[in-house]
Amino acid sequence: MMLLEHHAKELLGRSGFPVPEGILVTSARSAVRTVALPAIVKAQVPVGGRGKAGGIVSVKTETELDAALAGVMDMTIKGHKVRACRIEASVDYSAECYLSLSVDADAGGVRVVMSADGGVDIENPVVRENILSQVVAADLTHVDAAISALSAELPSTLHSALAEAGHDVARQFFALEALLIEINPLFVRKDGSWIAGDAKLVIDENALPRQDGLRALIEENAALYPEAALKMEHGFDFVVLDPDGDIGLVTTGAGLSMQLIDELVARGHRPFNFCDIRTGGFKGDPARLIQVFRWIVEGRNVRSILMNFFAGMTDLGELAKLMLVAMDGVPEMTRIPVTARMIGNGLAEARAVFAAAGSPIAIETDLESAIARATARARPFS
């Protein structure tokens, strides 16, 4: 997952990497404005292309700052509602360079990239041709050697800045078990000093159990990292895709859950959520189901719930019992029809459990039939 620029800069800054002075605000009316003007208002969303989308605005006066903040806080960039802005002091510089370290999954190593021309110019084909890049083994010794070798090819005015910044980033890359650290632009001043204009830091959620600092960061900023915080707290994935969606999904398995969303969209429906509930983690407790039901009934337009359990390991009879307990725990569920696609071990028991309880849950064994039933039920009353 990608950290917000503000947190990436805080983490880098804490280790001594120079970053411009900046504060995070989560409301356009925030009172604290300790940043000196001129400044830059930057939308904090976990995607690139913020500048192009109008999410980065330079301001010279308080009035401009107010207007920019109100405007940017009201934006949605690539599907991400802007929940926070970083207000950052403008800095002087003489060159905009590029520096990144990333995991190269394909080559199985670390890719080091440097360029004398950074910023938006990095997209320019001429600049791209002169980008310096090397993939090396994933350890500090090899990465440091690559940084030294690549920076030596840069103009002498930039050489030591990129080398020193590169070695700094490399230490952080391994300490944080990062997948990407990109400093673009890396501002270099006339005196050879440097400072991070932007910072992109992609972390590995699988490493969080041993990355105490990153875990704490996500916990403290749960509102800004809702999906990651949810996964850390509950141990499974749930993403609201469309707050106005008409079909709620209770599904297990990331790939099949994603495909199910694609199948529903292809039929003109708007799935409310993505869900990989991981039945393997239930261990006889209905808590996960209850939690997912609660989130789904919050969807104001959800008119149908589709469950999909392709049981490789799960016992469907046990699952059916848990589903009944969970439904009792969320009374709002009674207003939404539930279609449950179930196939695998214990199907007969599951049918018996629902029948004995007089449950209105409809079981389908074929996914196409389940989709047809669930979408028919989601149709608005006319």
Partner: protein
């Protein structure tokens, strides 16, 4: 190559034998006919179905095991792989989900150095239906046949293969490569395995957003003039950039990884890319019918 390595009677050990899932999966694999000869665990389990050793080295020395199925907690996968490699294991299948990516980089380097095949992590495993299963691919989706299957997602491949099996189309070899970005075996690595296998008539690729396994596969199809028909289903058309969708690798970044980019690359390599499961099942069934018909005409 993996196909030559995976033989029905090959001796297999399970690392993490005494964990809940280690115990369950061992029982299921034994039932399927996999020749599991021993397990490794720091503690004993009186009820374990096979002998339990303290170390891989002991297990391998005693049983002559060639393959290992790793079912240990995420932060222990790297050390388990290292132990297996040091003990002389030739094929490691790591089922565990949640292995840190920097650990995967280390594991990848060490298996390559030792010439060991590594499948995973985060894989449901592999199977030659009717003969051997390493991992937990569900029986309901397995049947002997002529389709070579490679998949990132477990569940989606179960659904796809289940539908194909219900149309009478089984698999020659099914390998789940897993949903992690850094992995032991990538789609492209499997292409020569299927190219050389006379029992494989067509390939089914179950891909998803994130990484560039699919793009790399497309390039390898072109580079090697791979001639068997290839069909692909790609999940995640409606995923949002910047949000991880369940799998560690299922993330669209600014630099690519979208279904559109993957579909374009695969189609340019002659692959039939399908948007819906039913469409894929129908296309594969029609192609196999044509192939069979042609073969019958040739032999007649």
């Amino acid at each position: 190559m993996i196909r030559d390595l995976v033989t029905p009677g090959m001796p297999v050990i399970v690392q993490g034998l005494t964990g809940r899932s280690g115990r369950d999966q061992t029982a299921r694999m034994l039932k399927y006919g996999t020749h599991i000869v021993a397990g490794v665990s720091p503690r004993d389990d009186e009820n374990s179905a096979v002998p339990c050793f303290r170390s891989c080295a002991e297990a391998v020395a005693t049983t002559g095991a060639k393959a290992s199925v790793v079912i240990v907690p995420p932060l222990s996968v790297l050390s388990s792989i290292r132990e297996a490699v040091d003990a002389g294991i030739k094929l490691v299948v790591a089922i565990t989900e949640g292995m840190p990516i920097h650990d995967a980089l280390k594991a990848r380097a060490l298996v390559r150095e030792a010439g060991v095949h590594w499948i995973g992590a985060s894989t449901p495993g592999l199977a030659i239906p009717g003969k051997i299963k390493l991992g937990f691919l569900p029986d309901i989706s397995l049947a002997p046949g002529t389709l070579g299957v490679m998949s990132k997602s477990g569940t989606l491949s179960y659904e796809v293969c289940h539908r194909l099996v219900s149309r009478g189309l089984g698999q020659s070899l099914w390998v789940g490569v897993g949903g992690d970005p850094v992995k032991g075996t990538r789609f492209a690595d499997l292409l020569p395995v299927f190219a050389d296998d006379n029992g494989t008539d067509a390939i089914v690729v179950v891909g998803e957003i994130g990484g560039n396994d699919e793009e790399e596969l497309a390039q390898r199809i072109l580079d090697t003039s791979f001639s068997k028909p290839v069909f692909a289903l790609l999940a995640g058309r409606n995923a949002r950039e910047g949000v991880t969708m369940g799998h560690a690798g299922a993330l669209i970044g600014g630099d690519g990884g979208s279904v559109e980019a993957k579909a374009n690359a695969l189609e340019a390599a002659g692959v039939t890319v399908c948007a819906r499961i039913e469409e894929l099942a129908n296309s594969v069934a029609a192609a196999i019918k044509r192939l069979t018909h042609n073969t019958e005409k040739m032999t007649a």
